[in-house]
Structure formats: structure tokens, C-alpha cells
Assembly symmetry: C2
Homo-oligomer: 433 residues x 2
């Protein structure tokens, strides 16, 4: 049950009530530096040592790599079908994100271009733990495949028997991944960042993980390796008007709460009656959940916010910038138009967050901790980069050159000016001939 | 003159010869943490203290903010004209980068959307120093304006008299910026990241700077504030075939070398004759440069690479991933098709880097240090973020729901399953009625 209920007042007060636990990865950076340096120096040997220490599995160096070309994975046919349906939807929504090359003649004889190129080498991290997160394999490997990344590797910790779950293997193969590396935690991130005898070095690293994985991603980003997003605990905000189904909303809130004890759950409504009904429903639904204890703990930090109207609700949303936002509201369009800060938005009574988590087509790797104010979720763009090009004709430089010369001179950069002047002089001589 | 000449052999050897000085900002992070914490605690008071200490100027708190609505800036009419021409070209090329909203019905009744939203609050940093970098104001403020960022602020250190250069003020006003804050260095970055009594907190920070500014940007990025790019010293690689004009190439190399003693300059050619001619030209042009000493020092680290053919040259380019690349080659299209890693590419004899630095239309804020392997330069995209949306109809959930249920169950997340199951049960009851 959610015990913290507040009424919308001022933004300052709101900020205080919606305060998220800060994610102090800086404190971990020294520990990560140690792991990083050890991997740089000793490569596989150290990786094997960490895998023994943290995952409790002894691997020899030839067992780190799993070649998917020669690996068979059998899974329940119903799960296989579900993964394939999800694959299609995610593939199609990300395929639609391909952008055309851009060409523009900005002035006569001055043509600027932009082309997208895939990041050649990317590393995907899939955490271990109680269940196989094959859905995250879909969310990362599908856009990597569409982008055309040449080398897509996947690191995930092995189970106690040194094995990878068949659902992970099945999904990775489906997405065209050729190699899985049995490595987890900060050591896996460091290994992908610098390369070992077995694990190739990559240019960008994607995927969720615990605080060590997150800190390792931050650390390697300081070293120039790209990362998808800074990560914090997962979040759901639901905004609902009075006439909505409390059982649906309670189920959605619980689906967020079961992720982890640090999951962030917020419900915003103009109806105290609805809030009370939701709490009743939570009580009814909670008991049958296998992850009841986790959900209960997460809910003890959850917040209910009572608003008077849509404007207040929208202000709450934009201030909080939720990772996931479910809108069960009457004026949908007003919300969609005025919400600036959110990761992914689920509209209407029949659009649970679960749909986007698994199978509708959108990506589930999204900005948490309010980072939706400045970050997008993972998309096709996360796997490409753009190169700009320009080509200037003689005539084009004759027109533009003088302006470049003046600007360079005023910035005190005479060699920049000369690069134009020598060319203009040479063109003048051509005319004189 | 460039004294280091190597012949293309293996990638491993190449990597060694093209080794860039590593940028050890980690060592500075403790110093930055001190500045950051001081700004958090004392705000303007500490900012004023740092400005006195590092910039040698005493400001009182009412002098930090420069309101451009009431500030007049007069500059040379020729410079004014040049800045306006550059403004138009940069505006048009970035305006062309606007992307359409995306809508796709991934399966019947399941509709996924994507919309771009401007980052609401952005901070631009313009370094001080010997000359006013108004070109960087254009490169950052124009895409911010096109994106529709609500609050665009600019920090730049004042001169010894506490003033901002009129060319900076003129350009900022032209780009619609309303407030300039007189603050520089790491303290300006920290002030924009956390906000002070005078300087507003922003969500993302852009702009070049020295190693302290760079370290401060890295530090605040660990705190969740967005930054444009990790930055290192500027770079130029020129690839030229034998028949090209050595004076043009020498001028281009010098334009890079004059930036700073740590500027990276690389020339790749299949012609030893051309390389010798370029060196002669460098000797001739160098003496007349006001920044001769800087350029000479930078050139002492420069490298010439002799290649046998286009394939070797392309391998060198992709391995080095230059910030700027000038191509004076016969098989332009082969290069353009096969280059994956570069920031911005200048094609042909009449396309000096200076054109893109100032006025052609492309952005000059580009990935250095090999980061072009995974980062794009600044573009309109840098000032927006995408929100994804989905709306599922009753019929849509009936089709997709079962697959979500199976996937959730297999990931051990029963509340995720329930969020679908409760809805499907409710729909079943509707039919039964």
C-alpha cells in the first residue's frame, strides 16, 4: 500500500517530495579503476579470476567465448513464438527510424552533406540474476542489426554451471549475434572497453546492470568509450482521471514495483476516491506475487500526488521527467502536446507498460532519474553516428571566401585566413591568364 | 616542417605512430569536485571569488549577468556582414536536419509514435583567451534556436575590465540569446550544472575549453547533466594524391597547427614528392604567421604517412578517425563510400577546413581523439530528445497480450504479466456480457 500522499502545491515543494535517491557511483569509481587496470594488464586471466570470485564459476580461457554458429538453443515453442512477434514489432519500429542522407547547397557552389554510418563495434551487456533478460537482447541487438554494426558482441554472466540461458542464446541468434562472452559485472564492461585476448574491444557499450556495472560504464565513458545512457533505478508514473479502472492501475504500479526495492512508483490523480481504490487493489493483488517482498518495499517509497487539473498534472510530469509514463486521462492530446520530459508514454486504458517492455515495438532502454530532461531512450540513432561533408566549387569559394577571411582574421587565426587567401589568389591568377 | 615520416605497414604499427596524447582528465576530477561543491554551497559568492582568482577581475553579483536586451554591440560592418552570411548557411543546414515525427502501427491496434522535443534549458560555454570565438556562438546557438530550447544561456569569461567582446555580444543577440553570464573555466561549467543565485541551472552543457573546462564537463556528466562531446585537442588529417597543390595543403595544415601546441596534424599521400613540396611550402608560409611559435611546436609532432594506394589511405583514416579530414584525391567517391570514422570531411581543392570552421553551414563542434568512431559532431539532434509513445486498442491488446504474458512469465516478472492479464480478463467479461 502507498502511504505517502501529497497535494500539489508549488514546484519547489513538489521537487522535494519527488526527490530521487541519488546514485553515488563516484564512490565506486576507485574500485572500478582497480578492475579496469587489472583487465588492461592481465586480460583474460584477470577476467577469469573475477568470474570465479563474483559469479562463483571456474572457466578456462577457451570457455569464455560461446560461438553461436555451433550452439543450439531449444525453448518452449510458445515463448519462441512470442519472441518472434516481439522481434517483428521492434524491428519494424526501429527500421522506420532510418533517416535519409541530407544534402543542401547552402549557397551557390557550397554543398553540405550528412550521412549516417553505423558504429562498427558495439558491446551489449545483459545482466544475470534470477531470470534471463532476453527482452533486453531484443531491444539492443535489433537496432544494432538494422544500423549495420559490423561487430556486435554480447557479454552476460554464466550461471553456476558456466552456462548461458537458452532463451538468451535463442534471442541473440535470432538477432544475428555471432558470439556471446561469459562475463558479467564491472569486469565485463572493462573487458569490452579495452579488449582482452578473447573479448574484442568495442567503441560503445549498451545495457543495464547493477551499480557496479553502471559505475564501470561511467568510468569507461571517461576513457572515451561511448555508453548508451547513465542508468538509475527504473520508474513509472501513472496519471489517471477519476473514472479509470483501479485494478489496471494497481497492476501497472506493481509491475514497476516488482523490478527492485529501489523502483520508483508515482501515481498522480485528481481523484482521492480513485487513489483509495488503487490502494485497495494493490492490497488484493500484492499477495499473489512471487516478488511480493520486493514490490512491497518499493511501494513503501511510492508517492501519490493529488492535482486539481491537467495543468498541474503536466507540471508534475515535466518536473519529474519519468522514465515510463502511463496516461489514463480524458484530455490525452493536451498531455501529449505539453509533455516535454518523459522517456516513453503509454496512452489509454489498454496500454500497460508491459507492452513496451516486451513487444509493442518501442525500446525499453530509457532515461531514468530525470535524465529524460536531456536524454532520449535507446533507438536506431544510438547505433549510428553522422559524418558531415562539404564540397565547394571555385565559384563557391570566390563568393564565400571573403567572409571566411574576415571571420578568421577577427578570431586572430591568420593561418585559417591564409587557407582561403592562397586559393582565392590562385583563382585570380587563373582568370588573369 | 614535419620531420616524422612513416610508411604504411600494418595496422598495429600505424596505431603506434598515430598514438594521440591521452587526455588524463581523471587526475583533475578531485580538483573539479572541490570547485563543484563550493559552487553548490556558496553559489555566486564562490563564483565571484574564482573569477577574481582565475580571470583577475572583481565583479559584484549584479555584474555577472549581462542582459542583451539592453546591451548594444557595434562591430565592423564587414564582420557583421560575414557573420550574417555564416549565420544563414549554418541556419539552413541545421534547419534541414529537422526530422518528422514517426508513427507506425506495428500490428493491428498497436500504434507506436516518436516525437522530438527540445531540451528546455541549455548552457553554452565560450572560452576567453586571445580572441573572441564568435564562430562557436553561431555553431551552438543556431541549432539551439532551431530546436526551440526555451532557455539558452551563454557563459564566457570577461576580459580584465570585466567586459565581453562586442563580436560575442553581437553574435549572441543575432542568435536570439537573451543573457550572457560573465563566468569562465570549471566554475562556469559547475555553475550552469547546479545553478547559482544568478546563473540558471541547465540540463545540457555545450562548448569547448581547456583541460579544466573539459574535466568539469566530464564531472558534471557523472552527476547526470548532459554534455555535447568529450573533448581533446583539435585535429586535421589531409589525404592528397600526387597532383595536388602543395601550397593549399600547407596552408590547411598550418591552419590546424596554429590552434594550439597540442593540435594534431597528419598528412597522408602516395607521393613523396608532394610531401617534400608541402614541407617546403610550410617553411615559406610559417614565418609570416602571428601564431608561428604555436604552429611550429604543433608541427613538430605532426606525421606524414606514405601509402601505396587508396585502400591503405582509407584504412589509415578509419583507424585514426580524424576530427577534420580534407580529401584532395582522385577517387573521391571510393573514399566517401568507405570512410566510416571521421568528424567532418572536406572534399576537393577548394574546400579548406576554414570553410567549415566558419561559414559553409556544417557544424565545427566535432569529435576529436578518435571519438568519431562512436560520436557524431554537434547537430540539431544535440539539442533535442525523442519521446516514444504507444497506444493500444482493445483488439490490439487481445492479439499482442498473450505474447507479453509469456515473455513476462519467462523473465519471472509476474506483475508484468498481470498488468496484461487483468486487462484481457476484463475484455473477456465485456464480450461475455
Amino acid at each position: 500500500m502507498i502511504t505517502k500522499r501529497i497535494t500539489f502545491s508549488t514546484t519547489t515543494e513538489l521537487k522535494k517530495s519527488l526527490f530521487r535517491p541519488t546514485f553515488k557511483t563516484e564512490d565506486l569509481l576507485n574500485k572500478i579503476a582497480e578492475i579496469y587496470n587489472a583487465i588492461v594488464e592481465f586480460g583474460d586471466a584477470k577476467l577469469i579470476e573475477y568470474t570465479k570470485k563474483f559469479d562463483g564459476v571456474s572457466l578456462n580461457s577457451s570457455e569464455i567465448e560461446l560461438d553461436l554458429a555451433t550452439t543450439v538453443a531449444t525453448i518452449d515453442p510458445l515463448l519462441e513464438k512470442a519472441i518472434k512477434v516481439a522481434y517483428e514489432n521492434i524491428y519494424n519500429f526501429h527500421k522506420a527510424q532510418i533517416k535519409e542522407d541530407l544534402t543542401l547547397e547552402t549557397q551557390p557552389g557550397v554543398t553540405c552533406y550528412r550521412k549516417s554510418k553505423a558504429i562498427e563495434k558495439v558491446g551489449l551487456y545483459i545482466p544475470g540474476g534470477s531470470a534471463p533478460l532476453f527482452s533486453t537482447v531484443l531491444m539492443l541487438a535489433i537496432p544494432a542489426k538494422i544500423a549495420g554494426c559490423k561487430e556486435v558482441i554480447l557479454c552476460t554472466p554464466p550461471n553456476k554451471n558456466g552456462e548461458i540461458h537458452p532463451a538468451i542464446i535463442f534471442t541473440a541468434k535470432l538477432c544475428g549475434i555471432k558470439k556471446i562472452y561469459k562475463a558479467g559485472g564491472a569486469q565485463a564492461i572493462c573487458a569490452m572497453a579495452v579488449g582482452t585476448q578473447t573479448i574484442p574491444k568495442v567503441y560503445k557499450i549498451f545495457g543495464p546492470g547493477n551499480q557496479y556495472v553502471t559505475a564501470a560504464k561511467q568510468y569507461v565513458s571517461l576513457m572515451g568509450v561511448g555508453i548508451d545512457l547513465p542508468a538509475g533505478p527504473s520508474e513509472l508514473m501513472v496519471v489517471a482521471n477519476s473514472n479509470r479502472n483501479p485494478a489496471f492501475i494497481a497492476a501497472d504500479l506493481l509491475s514497476q514495483a516488482e523490478h527492485g526495492t529501489d523502483s520508483q512508483v508515482v501515481i498522480v490523480s485528481d481523484s482521492i476516491t480513485l487513489l483509495n481504490e488503487i490502494n485497495l487493489e494493490i492490497g488484493l493483488q500484492l499477495n499473489s506475487l512471487p516478488r511480493k517482498d520486493i514490490a512491497e518495499k518499493a511501494l513503501s517509497y511510492a508517492v501519490e500526488i493529488i492535482v486539481k487539473n491537467d495543468d498541474e498534472a503536466i507540471e508534475v510530469i515535466n518536473e519529474y521527467a519519468p522514465e515510463h509514463l502511463i496516461l489514463m486521462v480524458n484530455n490525452e492530446n493536451k498531455y501529449i502536446e505539453n509533455i516535454n520530459n518523459a522517456g516513453s508514454i503509454f496512452i489509454g486504458d489498454y496500454t500497460p507498460e508491459s507492452a513496451g517492455d516486451y513487444a509493442s515495438g518501442t525500446n525499453h532502454t530509457l532515461p531514468t532519474s530525470g535524465f529524460a530532461k536531456q536524454y532520449s531512450g535507446v533507438s536506431l540513432d544510438s547505433f549510428i553516428k553522422n559524418i558531415t561533408y562539404q564540397k565547394i566549387t571555385k565559384e563557391g569559394l570566390k563568393d564565400l571566401g571573403v567572409h571566411i577571411e574576415i571571420m578568421a582574421e577577427n578570431e586572430g587565426l591568420m593561418a585559417h585566413k591564409n587557407a582561403v587567401s592562397f586559393r582565392l589568389e590562385s583563382l585570380k591568377k587563373e582568370v588573369d591568364l
